[in-house]
């Protein structure tokens, strides 16, 4: 068996047997405490609030005479922020303003779960690759390919009920798995850096699916000029879970199953042990007899399949009337933030997905009720990840002590000396 670093591509990994830097980063992110996560979310919401205040028109008006009557400005600022975040709550958890009964008032929470469904699936795909030390930025491409495959079966291949849904689902997942598998294969065989490959494959998938969507006989709806697929056949659509007044469908059950599967895979299976070993230190894993290259291929196949599940969710669950090339709706990138917030642990990803689902669901109410653009979700999300990725920064802001065993910003002198002498 050859070494992990093939001679043709010294670019892929350093030739040191110490765990590569990316693996250490994973460890730090995994090792962070839940408190940091919570504080990161709080900080990000504060930053979002500041942005809302800065762009609020009433705040701008009243700040013109700030020094004569500061209470006006502060009042306006408070109104802007509280208005924004209560709208977020109404849109994502419980709409206390409605008088049409509990069934309607609770709808936002189910909307949150609907938004969370593809986020969790894609987040699991990114997180699983993370655990092996791979960056799967290719969520968008894997989703698109999976969606195109599932969408083709769902819209144009009539099959009996149940079987149709299952076949479409499986075909879609295989599509995502193959698109992810290319990355693993290139990484294993040539050492090509997965970040670059996944970014490039995103665009290739986008143009490929765009082409298929405007080609009659491929994905384009017959007799149409728009680059859009035909509607999914009734038999291929995800059945709804709680009745037609809610959008939540069986896909949510599927992601719960997927979460349990990833948990089982990582914590209880032999393959998962290999995954984690490679994630800790590929060189050590190699020495221990684990075929690192085959692990790269396997993990990217499974990660692509999980992200593919999110793509299938989009076409068979959310856009059943036909889909266009923008069907991924940024989920491929959101998945990275979900995986980081969830610390790449299956159930962490699950709840992080629900949190971001809530932000998404609530953002639409924020836009309609308070006129705050939905883009603020992107800002809050990226702040959350920045804070989570830099625990020392959060600790510095809240003056928290540095926990033992986790990453230390300022190392004790002796430890530093030891590092030098190595």
């Amino acid at each position: 068996m050859s070494t992990t670093t093939s001679p043709a591509t010294p670019a892929s990994a350093p030739e040191t047997p110490a765990a590569p830097r990316s693996n250490q980063i994973m460890k730090e992110i995994l090792g962070g405490s839940a408190a940091i996560s919570v504080l990161a979310v709080v900080l990000a919401l504060i930053a979002g609030g500041i942005l809302v205040i800065l762009t609020d028109e009433r705040v701008a008006e009243t700040s013109g005479y700030f020094f004569s009557r500061p209470s006006d400005t502060l009042g306006a600022a408070w109104q802007a922020v509280s208005g924004a975040y209560t709208a977020l709550f109404r849109g994502s958890i419980f709409n206390y303003e409605t008088d049409r009964g509990f069934a309607i008032a609770i709808r936002p929470l189910l909307e949150t779960l609907t938004f969370a469904t593809p986020l969790i699936a894609a987040g699991l795909g990114v997180a699983l690759a993370f655990r092996v030390g791979l960056f799967n930025i290719g969520g968008r491409g894997q989703m698109l390919i999976a969606a195109a495959a599932a969408g083709y079966v769902g819209a144009y291949v009539p099959l009996p009920p149940v079987i149709h849904l299952v076949v479409a689902l499986i075909v879609g997942i295989i599509g995502g798995a193959l698109w992810g598998g290319i990355v693993g294969l290139l990484k294993a065989r040539t050492g090509a850096h997965e970040v670059i490959v996944t970014i490039m494959l995103n665009y290739i998938a986008f143009y490929l699916v765009s082409f298929l969507l405007r080609t009659p006989g491929a994905l384009q709806a017959p007799g149409q000029n728009n680059p859009k697929s035909g509607p999914m056949l009734e038999s291929a659509q995800y059945p709804s879970l709680l009745g037609p007044q809610y959008n939540l469908d069986i896909g949510f059950i599927l992601v719960i199953v997927a979460t349990i599967y990833v948990w089982y895979l990582l914590n209880r299976s032999a393959m998962g042990f290999q995954f984690r070993a490679v994630g800790e230190n590929p060189h050590a894993a190699q020495v221990a007899g684990i075929n690192v290259k085959s692990v790269y291929v396997k993990v990217m196949l499974i990660a692509g399949a999980l992200v593919g599940l999110a793509g299938v969710q989009q076409v068979l669950g959310n856009f059943t009337g036909g889909f266009a090339a923008g069907l991924d709706a940024g989920i491929g990138f959101d998945a990275i933030t979900v995986a980081l917030l969830g610390r790449s642990k299956p159930w962490g990803v699950f709840f992080a997905g629900i949190l971001f689902g809530a932000l998404k669901a609530g953002s639409f109410t924020m836009q309609s009720a308070e006129g705050i653009p939905v883009d603020i979700v992107l800002v809050v999300q990226s702040f959350i990840v920045l804070f989570i990725a830099a625990p020392p920064l959060v600790r510095a802001i809240f003056r928290l002590p540095t926990p033992d065993g986790s990453f230390q910003w300022r190392k004790p002198v002796i430890a530093r000396k030891a590092e030098v002498s190595k």
């Binding site: 670019a11 030739e15 040191t16 830097r21 490039m200 290739i204 800002v379 990226s382 990840v385």
Partner: protein, 436 residues
């Protein structure tokens, strides 16, 4: 299991330099063969069945109406051109195989000639029966390439100093936004350009702060910064720019300036010297970055920090400060390229208007093997492919435009997979330096 003896940390200091072992690489000849087969398939098997009868010709127009010196248009017949091109491509492929068998690396000039041959054949085939305005095609390609070149120059500097810059997209977008905003507020595109550079440097500042001070993984920060800048600019665009487009989002554009004499050179003049100030700045930037990186003390220090920070530190270079300031410089260059979108191309800011240009620039950095001149050429190639696609869609070509747009990304994957030479990034790129 050869990995076992390498457990000492000293192995980490061995850079992946040239090895004395002779390796026969069949990748280049195989790539040549694949492209030759594609050419044969396209030219002779697929052909142009949509064009009926005879031997259709492709007319290349080499002058514009306003040029002082008029060149006659070049007319190439489809049949003879493709036959000559394919024969030469087959010869080049055989040559490449012979070179590989003799364990000689296929030289760059052969690859270049091969690529040009393929392009000529392809263009003649795709545009058969139509007229190709060469000046418009190439000048447009340069225009499309401008932000890509700025982006790739910034990327080269940043990676050469040891910080992976995935945030090129964010720097371009931030630059475009700030250029529109300041350009409109002050009424001067030059202030807008300056603002764009500041915006790019600001994005870089966050990248540098998190990567160098907090040791956060540079790829994570880069990816997140792209999302952050997209979110921030889209948010501000919706809340500030859309309601008051007149005051915030209608910058004065840079005028095209024709340089006297130079712009009258046939073919090259109209392409290179009838451009906006940003493009002329780009020429300067390409030269300065190349000269600075390879001919000055600044460049030597920069590269040493990116290749071997510990050694650089030993001889008294402040690794962190070098990285910090150069990443900021890289951001400023990329940001200036972002101004191109709002001050030269479109004339106003739009949501996500860079639309992946930053990632193409990143591709150019890798395809150009972290060298400013090669990266510029790669960016030009990608810009050419993009512009060729829009030209061909006007002429009416048999190739779906999506496949032309896909080209830069496919080429990059081929490059990182090592099919065209070995792509080796600066040794310490992406690794934070923890001073002992």
């Amino acid at each position: 299991m050869t990995a076992a003896p390498a457990t000492t940390a000293s192995a980490a200091t061995t850079p992946g330099g040239a090895s004395p072992i002779v390796v026969r690489s069949w990748k280049a000849p195989i790539a040549f063969a694949i492209f030759t087969v594609i050419a044969i398939l396209l030219f002779f098997i697929v052909g142009r069945p949509d064009l009926d009868g005879g031997n259709p010709t492709t007319i290349y127009r080499l002058s514009e109406a306003r040029d002082a010196i008029q060149l006659p248009p070049l007319t190439l017949g489809l049949a003879e051109t493709t036959i000559v091109v394919v024969i030469l491509m087959v010869a080049a492929t055989i040559g490449a195989f012979l070179l590989a068998r003799a364990a000689v690396r296929v030289p760059l000039w052969l690859t270049t000639i091969f690529a040009v041959l393929f392009l000529v054949g392809f263009l003649t085939w795709a545009a058969a029966g139509a007229t190709v305005p060469m000046i418009g095609l190439l000048a447009g390609a340069l225009t499309v390439s401008t932000p890509l070149i700025f982006g790739s120059l910034g990327g080269v500097i940043s990676e050469r100093v040891g910080v992976v810059n995935i945030a090129i997209e964010g720097q371009l977008l931030g630059g475009a936004f700030m250029a529109a905003m300041l350009g409109t507020l002050t009424g001067s595109p030059y202030v807008g350009l300056l603002g764009a550079m500041v915006a790019g440097a600001l994005v870089s500042f966050v990248l540098a702060a998190f990567a160098i001070k907090y040791f956060v993984d540079q790829v994570i920060v880069g990816v997140v910064l792209n999302v952050l800048v997209l979110g921030l600019t889209s948010f501000l665009y919706s809340t500030v720019m859309v309601p008051n487009a007149e005051t915030f989002n209608s910058p004065e554009k840079f005028e095209r300036i024709a340089i006297p004499l130079l712009s009258e050179i046939p073919v090259l003049g109209p392409i290179l010297f009838r451009q906006t100030v940003i493009v002329y700045l780009m020429y300067l930037a390409i030269f300065l970055v190349w000269f600075g990186l390879f001919k000055t003390r600044w460049g030597l220090r920069l590269r040493s920090v990116g290749e071997h920070p510990t050694a650089a530190d030993t001889v008294g270079i402040n690794v962190r400060a070098t990285r910090f300031w150069n990443v900021l410089l890289a951001g400023a260059i990329v940001g200036g390229g972002g101004a191109f979108f709002t001050l030269a191309a479109v004339g106003s800011f739009g949501k996500d208007m860079t639309n992946g240009a930053g990632f193409i620039a990143l591709a150019a950095v890798i395809f150009g093997r972290w060298d400013p001149i090669r990266a510029t050429l790669a960016a030009l190639l990608f810009g050419f492919a993009t512009n060729l696609q829009s030209t061909l869609s006007i002429v009416g070509s048999p190739v779906p435009s999506e496949f032309m747009l896909m080209l830069p990304y496919v080429v990059t994957i081929v490059a990182v997979a090592g099919f065209v030479g070995v792509s080796r990034p600066p040794a310490a790129s992406g690794k934070p330096y923890m001073k002992a």
